[in-house]
Symmetry: C2
Subunit: 354 residues, 2 copies
């Protein structure tokens, strides 16, 4: 196992008030950095004071988008311990993304060890008000100073952390989502299953259109036939139709969400039928029209569950479950957040206590 | 028109020897920077010594890939003047890319003025050995320090310049190109027509596979039906079949190359029939099999023309024009490079002298 050196800040920042947190605005006192140099491999893992990154203007990240990232959270439990939720899965997915983007793989165990040390050092930054958490952002950027188009020969793997506020300040609020018709997020053979910057950049335009029409997020359809449901901006999507829960299968163009996987496991453990398969937007509309579309919800690290209250498709506005959170959505939310805050026993072995 | 301030370097770098140039390794003494701040617009245009960019680790460019770029060249003419080739087209395309990536547009005339001033200041860096040129890289990156997924509220527009060597050191060398089967570069509704980092990151994997098999570049097929020819890694593609020159139409998923457009205009001016339309890989194979596939060539700023000597598709290896440069390819190459080095009169009005 590689070493990790630590240089503590001499100038700790003031922590923001719990109700000012929001998402992704504030960062803790320290960050982790690991360098990659071709011929040497990953080296010089270090925890250092949070600080700017200085790169040559020709650094590849500024030109050719070779980057991957992850997003996970640390929670304070009811017993005032800190736990991480399935961090091993995030580093595994990071390596899958690395493979697609021609970035050298990291040692997953080492990354987890580095993360644990980093969270321990910034322990006081993990907020403990209900619903708050410490959002953790591991990412890798190509840093070679060269304008040739080829995989970079240098990278930095960095972890930064941001205390983040409660997603649902006034109870769980169903969101309105719009089916995107013109733009496509990803297609089979592309990078949709990887967590890479380009996917998010390409999604902004659809997002902008949805926002203008008053919708919170875009529901993406597949890029080939433009009729199968893929996922939402930063969530996977589930439909409860006639008692069965259906979510698009991992087809190579959607992100394999860790919350998605957790939800499927919880559903199975409760004997609620769940199917991973192709589902067309027409099937959803039809289910709505014949009264069998019982619940729709998105899943992701940020909100855990986001019930969908309205789905706009062409000129139709489907109102789902009277715009209220459904029974299964509520159960899944309670189970997952319960495991995350330690109030429900973690029979799945998902959590890692520091 | 906005101002441009200039701060000259006190520490000029040594210029590399002409035969060491290569591509994208060396950078001139100065760079241009323009900032964007929401509510203010683009501001503080300045020419400064070439220097690192320092950004917060949460700067959006490191996470969500919101970036666009351009590539063009300055040439020393036979009369020892410096000219730019169609720079207005590059800034126009940059703005089209900006639109797709939700980046605020730049003032194209201002950008051109800034570029001219920058090239004038670094005039001595424009190499003048035959085939060499000054490669110019304008690019825009999202710099807001925030992990929310939304268009950035801050950007930097930067121009850096790199003296670059002759693409063809020992005469024009036809390249071997492989048709990619598994991976997809872009799909209609995606970002293929924009020059944004993510497109290049997603193409690396196909490129890697091609390289391993001894091919210089990937020929991409469309993402929907996986049978229509799109373009090569960093070139548009042309086929001469039975006396007619055919190139894929601008369908929204390929980059509208400026060299491509120039070639079409030159062909028309010489009364050589040229068609922009959909062309399937099967049509190309069939033309090869019945002996009517006369020439294949890529076009782009880097090489101007890259004749294709071999095209691999599935298990077939099509040898084109005995692996030699064709007559039309040679004529196009001579015409364009002649206009660029001032030895042929620019009847198209493409060049701008400093
Ligand atoms: C595109 C996309 N889909 C789905 C998800 C949900 O993934 P996870 O549950 O691992 O957070 C995310 C968020 O990370 C995402 O960005
Ligand atoms: C993907 C792609 N296609 C085509 C081209 C050719 O464009 P241009 O002729 O403007 O250089 C380039 C190079 O810039 C490119 O990157």
């Amino acid at each position: 196992m590689l070493d990790i050196t630590t240089q503590l800040t001499t100038n700790p920042k003031q922590k923001p008030a719990p109700d000012e947190l929001g998402f992704g605005h504030y960062f803790t006192d320290h960050m982790f950095i690991l360098d990659y140099t071709e011929g040497i491999g990953w080296h010089d893992g270090r925890i250092v004071p949070y600080q700017p990154i200085s790169l040559d203007p020709s650094a590849m990240i500024f030109h050719y988008g070779q980057s991957v990232f992850e997003g996970l959270k640390a929670y304070v439990t009811v017993d005032n311990e800190v736990l991480l939720f399935r961090p091993d899965q995030n580093f595994k997915r990071l390596n899958n993304s690395n493979d697609r983007l021609c970035i050298p793989k990291i040692d997953e165990e080492y990354a987890l060890e580095a993360l644990k040390q980093l969270v321990s050092i910034d322990r006081e930054w993990v907020p403990n008000a209900p619903g708050t958490s410490l959002y953790i952002r591991p990412f890798i950027i190509a840093t070679e100073a060269n304008l040739g188009v080829h995989p970079s020969n240098r990278y930095q793997f960095i972890i930064i952390m941001s205390p983040s506020g409660s997603y649902y300040k006034e109870g769980i609020n169903p969101v309105k989502i719009m089916v995107e018709q013109q733009f496509v997020r990803a297609v089979r053979g592309g990078t949709g299953a990887a967590k890479t910057g380009g996917n998010y950049a390409s999604a902004l335009k659809g997002q902008e259109i949805a926002s203008k029409e008053g919708y919170a997020q875009t529901l993406w359809l597949d890029g080939k036939e433009n009729c199968y449901v893929e996922e939402v901006g930063s969530m996977n999507i589930f439909f409860k139709i006639d008692g069965k829960v259906i979510t698009p299968a991992l087809n190579g163009s959607i992100l394999p969400g860790i919350t998605r996987d957790s939800m499927i496991q919880v559903l199975k453990s409760k004997n609620i039928p769940v199917e991973e398969r192709r589902i067309s937007i027409e099937e959803v509309v039809e289910a709505h029209n014949n009264g069998t579309l019982e619940e729709v919800f998105g899943t992701g690290t940020a909100a855990v569950i986001s019930p969908v209250g309205e789905l706009k498709y062409l000129n139709d506005k489907l109102i789902i479950n009277k715009g209220e959170i459904g029974e299964v959505s509520q159960m899944l939310y309670d189970t997952l957040t319960g495991i995350q805050n330690g109030s429900i026993e973690d029979t799945f072995g998902w959590t890692i206590r520091l």
